[in-house]
Symmetry: C2
Subunit: 267 residues, 2 copies
């Protein structure tokens, strides 16, 4: 998503040139290029698919909508397996229209996970519940803190459901460091994503994630706590940013890699 | 602030006509009309000043800036006393430019409160620390949850420092209900403010607070938990909303009063 202006073949080529060996993919561009074609292309390019984004949106009340959501998430699991990644990231969904019941919405996510967890496990895919910043609680994700995400995950086996830690969503929370340790100890730290927090936020607050180093996130501290929690998996950079998308994708990828190395070095 | 288009004399008149007996004031319009003139006007209109907004912005690192901030907060306390309100609301301040140290910023707030608390107590003014939504953590307020605000308040006597509960900032947090009870039990629930959460958020995310009933906040549930915590003080409606500000102020005040009654009745 950081360089969504690059079609998948160009992305693979640019990664190869820059020495990037893993890539997190989103379902829409994969579907556009073709699932099997994408799987073949990344395999031949020697790229590991680190995660697939995203399943989720599991908060509907309407029974037909719920069945559709579960079916769609099963397809997402299948796609992850085909792409050779072991992790599907879930953005759980916001409040259904007209509802003000956050607790009920969170319980419906748990209901759906009880169906999806075994399905995913049988296919070698872990479900990573991603807490999104509280500013998305109404319209995208009622799971707003790492505490909530872990409380949810721990209702299921650790080889089915865990969490995705994204600095953009969690940087402000003084409880997050302890919860990262909890996630690690429970064997549920499935994914680690980076974006910086910059202000002012744009209208709609979706596409203002900052380039690494431009904002308020203390990346060295985050790297240290994620490492201390035993995480040795890939580190993804996920920037939703209109300005970055308007630029040359290869240039943005090179810049992002440079920033990535700089924030890792900063301590 | 809900009807900031109304100059203070018109505000007082409109409140009188609608049977509104209390008003929360902000320092800027008070200063513009004159502190003593405002105090006289609201007294003669039979209006109670429920709170004064706002003190705070206590996170500066530079010693001169810190002294200036404390002096300014002392003036805010004096203004509150002159206006006859017993509560000054504090918006604590964001990260200083270039800093990524949330913990340090929170500690500097505590330092400042240790100076301001006794000063305010001697003048009959309570300091209400207001946690702001986490989306303001970088640029306005590093105190993002009611838990953090209470942890901070409880380092000081309960007749000096407490909290302001605002539904707009706290509605998403599953820990907030228990913390409201904690605030009540500790005698630190000093103010209660209402605004609804509506999306999409506007650019800068400051002036999109929803009219009561238009959004995701479950007001009856909030009223019930604040009442259960023993709160019997005024209930303020604080809407920062460009659309409401563009309309006739008396019409907005009447509509807000109607909505206020409707959301109180909803259960």
């Amino acid at each position: 998503m950081t360089v969504k202006q690059l079609p998948i073949p160009e992305l693979a080529e640019a990664c190869g040139e820059l020495g990037v060996t893993g890539v997190g993919l989103w379902r829409e561009p994969v579907a556009e290029y073709g699932l099997d074609a994408t799987a073949k292309l990344v395999r031949e390019a020697g790229l590991t698919v680190t995660t697939l984004c995203r399943g989720g949106f599991l908060t509907a009340i309407d029974p037909h909508a719920r069945v559709q959501a579960i079916d769609d998430n099963r397809r997402a699991v299948d796609e992850a397996a085909t792409l050779g990644t072991d992790t599907l990231v879930l953005v759980s969904g916001g409040l259904p229209p007209g509802s003000r019941d956050l607790h009920g919405a969170r319980e419906r996510i748990a209901d759906a996970l009880s169906e999806l967890g075994p399905y995913a496990r049988e296919r070698g895919v872990l479900l990573a519940v991603e807490p999104l910043h509280p500013m998305y609680a109404a319209d995208r994700c009622v799971v707003s803190t790492l505490t909530q995400a872990l409380d949810l995950a721990e209702r299921f086996p650790a080889d089915e459901v865990g969490v995705c830690v994204d600095t953009y969503h969690l940087w402000w929370d003084d409880r997050a460091p302890a919860e990262v340790a909890r996630a690690g100890a429970a064997g549920r730290l499935f994914a680690y994503q980076l974006a910086d927090w910059t202000t002012p936020l744009p209208e709609g607050v979706l596409n203002g994630r900052g380039q690494l180093g431009d904002g308020s996130v203390d990346f060295p501290a985050w790297h240290a706590r994620v490492a201390a929690a035993g995480y040795t998996g890939p580190v993804e950079v996920e920037l939703f940013n209109e300005e970055l998308w308007a630029r040359d994708g290869r240039e943005v990828l090179a810049e992002t890699l440079e920033r990535f190395r700089a924030v890792a070095r900063a301590r």
